[in-house]
């Protein structure tokens, strides 16, 4: 902490990260550990939860893995209720099934609503209640949204529906949780190169579409997003709530 510059420092804080085994969630878990925060990692792949442990332990912080599907409300509920430390939630687990609007299958629509909206709501509610119960002085919840929470994209109708809903939820939660000094924000990344999006980028047409729509001629990295998440998690952003950090190289400015 300088006179006016606040550090991105999470020493003594504990963060729960959903979807922590891959992509953005894994990046966020590592960045949070790097800033000194303890990590509670939720994921469905035991092997990846194990390999994440090695990366987190490098930073000499605590690591608690929990193999669980965020859709499993009862398991999530009993796990979160038992936590004796919790300050930060990175509400990241999410997925996408790109289909053109006229051909969206009922099953895909339901999957996306379950994971991206309902589970996001449930995990947020469970964690907020726990942070309040533990009487923490402050809290920070970061919902992982997307540029498609702000604008539309081709074959992204359901995804946009779910991510716009996360934007609304974020603002509503920010108002309801302000009196507990729990801040709630979202990050809205452009399409980041992750294990899930690798297959999209393999399509040349898609690659061109992303490049042409991103004024800054680079692909957003996991580290770009993880850095913003960690900034929002820390007291460096203590007056930021109900906001979205858009990390899109200018996509939505056009």
């Amino acid at each position: 902490m300088g006179i006016f510059l606040k550090d991105i420092n999470l020493k003594g804080k504990t963060a729960l990260i959903t979807g922590a085994t891959k992509g953005l969630g894994r990046g966020a878990a590592i960045a949070i550990a790097e800033a000194g925060g303890n990590v509670i990692a939720i994921g469905r792949n035991q092997m990846e939860l194990n390999t994440l442990k090695k990366e987190i332990k490098k930073f000499k912080v605590n690591y608690i893995p929990f193999n669980c599907d965020v859709n499993n409300f009862n398991r999530m509920k009993s796990f979160i209720a038992k936590l004796n430390k919790l300050d930060i939630l990175v509400n990241n687990a999410g997925t996408n099934i790109p289909e053109s609007f006229l051909n969206v299958k009922k099953s895909s629509m339901e999957t996306l609503l379950n994971v991206n909206t309902k589970a996001v709501f449930n995990v947020a509610q469970l964690c907020a209640n726990q942070i309040i119960k533990l009487k923490r002085k402050s809290g920070s919840i970061i919902n992982i949204s997307s540029i498609f929470g702000v604008v539309a994209g081709q074959k992204r109708t359901v995804y946009s529906m779910t991510k716009f809903s996360v934007e609304g939820l974020t603002k509503g939660m920010a108002l309801d949780l302000a009196k507990y000094n729990i801040r709630v924000n979202s990050v809205c990344p452009n399409i980041v190169l992750t294990p899930r999006t690798k297959k999209y980028f393999a399509d040349k047409k898609y690659n061109k579409y992303v490049k042409e729509n991103t004024p800054i001629n680079k692909v957003v990295t996991v580290s770009d997003v993880a850095t913003s998440i960690t900034f929002l998690a820390s007291e460096a952003s203590s007056m930021i709530t109900g906001a979205s950090i858009i990390i899109d190289g200018g996509w939505t400015a056009k």
Binding site: G2, I3, F4, L5, K6, I8, G27, I30, A31, E34, A35, T170, K171, A174, L175, A178, K179, N181, R183, N190, P215, I216, N217, K218, V220, T221, V222, S223, D224, A226, T227, S228, T230, F231, A236, S237, S238, M239, I240, T241, G242, A243, I245, I246, I247, D248, G249, G250, T252, A253, K254
Partner: protein, 254 residues
């Protein structure tokens, strides 16, 4: 994974650097390692800021200049050889009910908050794009906007007009400067404990009414805004452009 807020080897220009937010930003950028060029109309203010920066082992250079005087501004810019970061901060407010706004006040605010902001941004950008390695090292421009660049407020119609204007300018600039890897963003603070706001808050009725509009229940500190500016100035935000970072305690989420 975590990109630190590090401005070593960067040169930053801050306008309105003698007081309030500009002063805080200048000091914060210096704390992050930048060499800071500070501009304001009042030499005695700048000397004080320079002393504080020196104490933190930072380096700065001061220029006395009224940003509404284009000729003076051009002369100052000529003396600067290189520039990586601009904090386009100089601005003011003269609250009046819409029906009572005097021509004089309207002209004063448009000249300072919009015309001068445009001129400073254009002159600095012209200098920045000339650097041969610009694409590689990037650049960052941060406009000091306001939550009133997003929503209306009583007695703030001209200020609203100005700051919405700055929001538009920022997005346009982001599109045009992206090919040079120069990022352009705004900061939108709520009321901050600055000399300007302290004057408004002498009216207790106004102060209480405004505080009620901030869900977090407190005004922002200068360090909250300065830290956000430093985050946008540094490569920690290297894919963030054409957007606004709200530091408003939830004001605009409602």
């Amino acid at each position: 994974m975590l990109k630190k807020i590090n401005l070593k080897n960067k040169i930053a220009l801050v306008t309105g650097a003698g007081k309030g937010l500009g002063k805080a930003c200048a000091i914060a950028l210096a704390e992050a390692g930048a060499k800071v060029i500070i501009l304001s109309r009042t030499k005695s203010d700048l000397i004080k800021v320079k002393k504080i920066i020196k104490k933190t082992k930072g380096s700065s250079q001061l220029f006395v200049c009224d940003v509404t005087n284009l000729d003076d501004l051009k002369k100052v810019l000529k003396k600067i050889s290189r520039l990586d970061i601009l904090v386009n901060n100089a601005g003011n407010n003269r609250p009046q009910h819409f029906t009572k706004v005097s021509q004089e006040n309207m002209e004063y605010l448009v000249n300072l908050n919009m015309k001068a902001a445009f001129n400073v941004a254009q002159l600095c950008s012209q200098k920045k794009v000339k650097a041969k390695n610009r694409k590689k090292i990037g650049g960052s421009i941060i406009h000091m906007s306001s939550q009133l660049g997003k929503v209306g407020c009583e007695g703030r119609n001209v200020y609203n007009m100005n700051k919405f204007g700055v929001e538009g300018l920022s997005r346009g600039m982001a599109c045009e400067l992206a090919p040079y890897n120069i990022r352009v963003n705004t900061i939108c603070p709520t009321f901050v404990e600055t000399p300007m706001v302290k004057k408004f808050f002498k009216n207790k009725k106004f102060k209480n009414k405004m505080l009620k509009n901030i869900p977090l229940g407190r005004v922002a500190r200068e360090s909250d805004v300065a830290t956000a500016v430093a985050f946008l100035a540094a490569d920690s935000s290297e894919m963030i452009t054409g957007t606004s970072l709200l530091v408003d305690g939830g004001w605009t989420a409602q």
